[in-house]
Symmetry: C2
Subunit: 188 residues, 2 copies
């Protein structure tokens, strides 16, 4: 059905993520989506709605990628697999940093964009904590370790963007492994 709508959202995701919100306009999005201008404005009331839809779609895709791997792991492995998913995801997307942070920073006055970014990060953190619980850590440990893993994952995408390669994800993964190893679920 709404395949045109999906095309627009896909194109918006690619264009905005690759070239930045400041440099791509609606015309670039319709051009990359192979869609008429009127079609976009039939599906979305405003540019802000396009961006919000792109964020929501990316959130769904990312969560799907997260849940598609590492659910069977035990101990630290099911947490560390988050880094593997992130590395594949980041390089596949182009390694231009976190799309949600970029959108939130560019449109601090846009409530729907702020909401999309905030709720994404909340759910992301929740997934991390759930993996820690699944790995055998207690609820209190999961909250504490979850924040640390979250910082490492966020730092990984930021550093990968800055340094231009995905080695930072491996660095973050190693750090996470060391920290998880020194706070084993058996010993807590």
């Amino acid at each position: 059905m709404g395949t045109k709508r999906e095309d627009i959202i896909d194109a918006a995701n690619r264009a905005f993520y690759r070239d930045g919100f400041a440099e791509v306009g609606i015309d670039r999005v319709v051009g990359e989506a192979n869609v008429a201008l009127g079609t976009l404005y039939r599906h979305f009331k405003t540019r802000s709605e396009v961006i919000t839809a792109a964020l929501q779609r990316r959130h769904g895709d990312f969560l799907h990628a997260l849940e598609g791997a590492g659910e069977a792991g035990k101990g630290a492995d099911c947490v560390l697999e988050l880094f593997d998913v992130l590395e594949a995801w980041s390089t596949q997307q182009g390694g231009n940093g976190c799309f949600f942070l970029r959108a939130a920073a560019d449109y601090p006055a846009d409530d729907s964009i702020q909401n999309a970014a905030r709720s994404h990060k909340r759910e992301y953190l929740a997934v991390i904590e759930q993996r820690l619980l699944q790995g055998g850590w207690s609820k209190g440990q999961a909250e504490q370790l979850g924040s640390t893993i979250f910082v490492l994952l966020e730092g990984a995408v930021a550093a990968a963007f800055t340094l231009g390669d995905g080695a930072a994800v491996t660095t973050a993964r190693n750090a996470a492994a060391r920290i998880l190893g020194s706070a084993k679920p058996e010993s807590g």
Copy 2:
């Protein structure tokens, strides 16, 4: 002398960092700088030059803040003080994430902006490695640990922005302390 120029750069830093590149124009900068439009264009040839100057100024201020603290520490302390400086800096600036990453993401086709962001991060990483050397770690350890500390620092500002409070910096600092503790310079 060039106090008007400084006013413009200051205002650009505040406005762009607070409200994002997509939402603030040259008129907002001149308005916040209490300066005439012609004055801005006497000092800068283009908007891109204003942004680049803002980045360079912020780089200088940040490095100055870094070098102003923790130079006397020994061992892990002189590295961990980077987190303390970052926390003060981040909350003082408003906690809207890394200005350089945001600029680099928004203007991927602007060479001077890309250069300013890239060289900032390079120097930042160099400061971290220098602190590790100062703390007694070997050159090889400094490079390896430096990447990890860098990831933690980058993750700290990103997470602080997302979660809205500075607790992420403390989380990152604790993680850094644990990692530095398990790779003591005496034992390497």
